[in-house]
């Protein structure tokens, strides 16, 4: 029995096992068609994007050498914020997903890429690509559900500590990259379970330490030093740019799985899961952000979170193209395509974080039947 089936309206009760299999086949067909069509124009897109991002970062850093002069501070900080957002979202996240591996360019490859982030790429790839994308929204398996510090689903047990979660969430948003690094290390759990002496954990913690040192040295020591008399203002500018990047990426990412309308699943629901059922879980467990082309690029196309979760290794510039077909599939099978504007989705996610900081208003009947099979909802 899945968690979603315990809700008053089970969104997949009307689907038969054949329906789910057909949904899987149709999604495979969409993926195969786009994959076969990848070529020159996609390669041009990512190369141009990388060139733009690097030029913008370089230009902004150059302007910040004169950040003592307020207009230069504003221009440089704005430019650096955008450059850092592009680097993490549309480039880093997507390259590390292997979306551009097909180009066989060792410089734009998931195995060689390192990003402007305190979590080392290989650790993030494990916790994100492998664990989160495989176990999307499975309570107890997908740590992205609240990142282990928050309660974002009625089915997660409440603890008095959760009263503070609106505050944790705000702090996490401000220092998001550090939150991610701690999360990728499974810091809380490893410390709680006394694994701090475990050599494997220590090696990974050291790698994070090294990465933090390099990032901090660059942003808060070397670039300010290069600015000479503008030392403090450049330091402030870099801090501001990192803060903007963190707040932005946290907001976008919260919109992917936390707004009202997304479903969560029980651990046992994924045992023996078929490809169609896996797809279905991605469809129901993700939410989109509607908006302009610029918003899509700045969000790393995670505004197309549903499409991203269906096809995590499809180049991000193609998500927009497959939206009509994916939406049509949702409509045909009577499934809810959760989407909304950025302010609406951010508000919805925050509302949930605040609501769930308190225990559930209506305690649910926990004695429900547990015999029904996984996501094959019919007749459950």
């Amino acid at each position: 029995m899945t968690v979603i089936q315990r809700k008053p309206v089970n969104p997949i009760a009307h689907l038969t096992a054949e329906d789910i299999a057909v949904i899987g086949k149709e999604l495979d067909a969409i993926r195969d068609r786009v994959m076969a069509d990848l070529g020159e124009r996609d390669a041009r897109y990512i190369r141009r994007l990388i060139r733009t991002q690097r030029s913008l970062e370089l230009g902004s850093r150059a302007v910040l050498l004169f950040s003592l002069f307020p207009p230069a501070w504003i221009v440089g900080t704005a430019g650096l914020s955008v450059a850092k957002i592009l680097e993490n979202m549309e480039i880093g996240h997507n390259v590390l997903h292997g979306q551009w591996d097909w180009m066989r360019d060792p410089k734009i490859h998931s195995t060689t890429w390192e990003w402007d982030h305190v979590s080392p790429a290989d650790q993030w790839k494990h916790s994100h690509n492998e664990l989160h994308h495989r176990y999307t929204n499975v309570v107890g398996k997908d740590n992205d559900l609240g990142y282990g510090i928050m309660r974002v689903d009625e089915d997660q047990p409440w603890h008095p500590l959760h009263l503070g979660q609106p505050l944790w969430n705000l702090l996490n948003a401000c220092f998001f990259e550090y939150g991610i690094a701690a999360y990728d290390l499974e810091l809380g759990r490893n410390l709680k379970e006394g694994r701090h002496r475990d050599p494997e954990f220590r090696a990974r913690a050291r790698a994070v330490g090294r990465k933090i040192r390099r990032q901090v040295l660059k942003d808060y020591v070397l670039h300010p030093l290069l600015s000479g008399p503008s030392f403090l203002s450049t330091l402030a500018a870099t801090f501001a740019a990192n803060l903007v990047r963190n707040l932005w990426s946290h907001s976008v990412i919260m919109c992917g799985h936390f707004p009202e309308g997304v479903e969560t699943f029980e651990k046992t629901s994924i045992e023996g899961e078929s490809r169609g059922e896996w797809y279905l879980r991605q469809m129901l467990g993700s939410a989109n952000i509607s908006g302009s082309r610029l918003l899509h690029i700045m969000s790393g196309n995670l505004s197309h979170q549903i499409e991203h979760h269906l096809f995590p290794d499809l180049p991000s510039n193609r998500y927009r193209e497959v939206v009509p077909e994916v939406r049509a599939l949702f409509d045909r099978y009577g499934l809810t395509y959760t989407t909304g504007s950025l302010p609406r989705q951010v508000f919805s996610a925050w509302k949930k974080v605040i609501r769930l900081s308190l225990p559930n208003r209506r305690p649910r009947d926990r004695a429900g039947d547990r015999a029904a099979p996984a996501l094959t909802a019919s007749g459950a």
């Binding site: 690097r54 066989r104 490859h109 195995t111 495989r134 040295l217 660059k218």
Partner: protein, 363 residues
């Protein structure tokens, strides 16, 4: 008497320190990532070249003029260069003989490419590539070269684009003092790459040119060769052409116990035709097993006791990719084949790929 503590040479350590500082400023990127934006051919960069010009030679062959980066170390006549070209967004590596004579250090080089029917890279280079395009390069390599002192009597046997390394030799002028016979096969006179230039060399007495137009004269046989060049066994011989020709010559020279005098270059790489299943070699683990066409390579490796990198096991996390040194694999999700020859640098997702012929994984 005083002793001095030996000091490390100051300039080198200063340079190293500067590079370390520069890298700390650009981390997680390296300074090269930024320099590549403006000067991809500079000294110290990964070796690249810029295509300067594409000159048609015959209806299906063209000469590509490439300005190599500053670190190009030059070539010896007859050597080839590996070229990484992006075709339809995908980097493809191929080897081509350098057809220009060795010049001064920063002179452009040329390669001459014959479009093979269905050939991805050759057709791209002959028909589509535009001047200004940046290509990846390796330093020149290959043992198909002339000795320091050229032999007095030389035989060159070539067919089709097999003329290309030999053209580099002829243009270099190294053979100026030798008695040179060139036997070259092409379908028709119009198909002879560098036809006019070769005929001019012959007219000037630099080489004795025997053109063989196979559309009329048929394939060159060993008997033909013996008739055309009676003293061929006494000549130091360089041959380049299709596998069949090279194999026949090799056998003939070996039978005459003159194998040491024959230098060969096979210009057509091993053709890989994907099938279902095959032997899988995990090179560094020293394990070779037979796999069917439906078992993921990840499982094949694990079953054979190889410690395999793995992740989601469903093709989404890219945690299991390994370099395919050579061979063919099939994507179990959509049936698409991926083939590789040494140097291609292809990484395959082992959890969703099965053997489609012999595969050699670098692991």
């Amino acid at each position: 008497m005083t002793t001095t503590v030996p000091r490390s040479p100051a300039p080198a350590s200063l340079r190293r320190r500067f590079l370390r500082l520069a890298a700390a400023v650009t981390t997680p990127l390296v300074p090269d990532d930024y320099l590549d934006l403006v000067a991809p051919l500079r000294a110290g960069a990964d070796l690249r070249g810029r295509i300067v010009e594409v000159r048609p030679e015959t209806r299906d062959a063209a000469t590509v003029v490439i300005q190599p980066g500053r670190d190009w170390r030059g070539h010896r006549p007859g050597q080839y260069v590996r070229l990484g070209v992006d075709v339809d967004g995908v980097r493809q590596w191929r080897a081509y003989s350098v057809t220009s004579a060795p010049g001064r250090h920063h002179d452009p080089i040329t390669i001459t490419v014959k479009a093979i029917p269905g050939g991805l890279v050759s057709n791209h280079l002959v028909r589509h590539v535009r001047p200004g395009t940046i290509v990846q390069l390796d330093q020149a390599q290959g043992e198909f070269v002339l000795p320091a002192t050229p032999p007095a009597r030389v035989l060159l046997v070539t067919a089709g684009s097999g003329i290309t390394p030999v053209m580099g030799m002829l243009r270099s002028g190294v053979l100026a003092g030798s008695d040179v016979t060139l036997v070259h096969s092409a379908p028709t006179a119009a198909d002879v790459i560098f036809g006019a230039e070769l005929r001019n060399l012959a007219a000037a007495g630099t080489v004795r040119l025997v053109e063989r137009h196979t559309r009329e004269d048929g394939q060159l046989s060993l008997a033909d060769l013996a008739a055309l060049v009676p003293d061929h066994r006494d000549r130091e011989t360089w041959a380049c052409g299709p596998v069949g020709l090279i194999d026949a010559l090799t056998a003939h020279w070996a039978a005459a116990e003159r194998a040491g005098r024959l230098h060969i270059e096979r210009f057509r790489p091993t053709v890989i035709s994907p099938g279902a299943g095959g032997t899988v070699t995990f090179g560094r683990s020293g394990v070779t097993v037979t796999a069917d066409g439906s078992t993921p390579l990840l499982e094949v490796g694990e079953t054979a006791g190889v410690l395999m990198p793995s992740g989601c096991r469903m093709g989404i996390c890219y945690g299991c990719v390994l370099p395919l040194r050579q061979g063919a694999v099939r994507d179990l999700r959509n049936g698409a084949f991926t083939t590789a020859v040494p140097g291609d640098g292809v990484l395959v997702q082992t959890c969703v790929s099965a053997a489609a012929g012999p595969c050699d994984l670098d692991h």
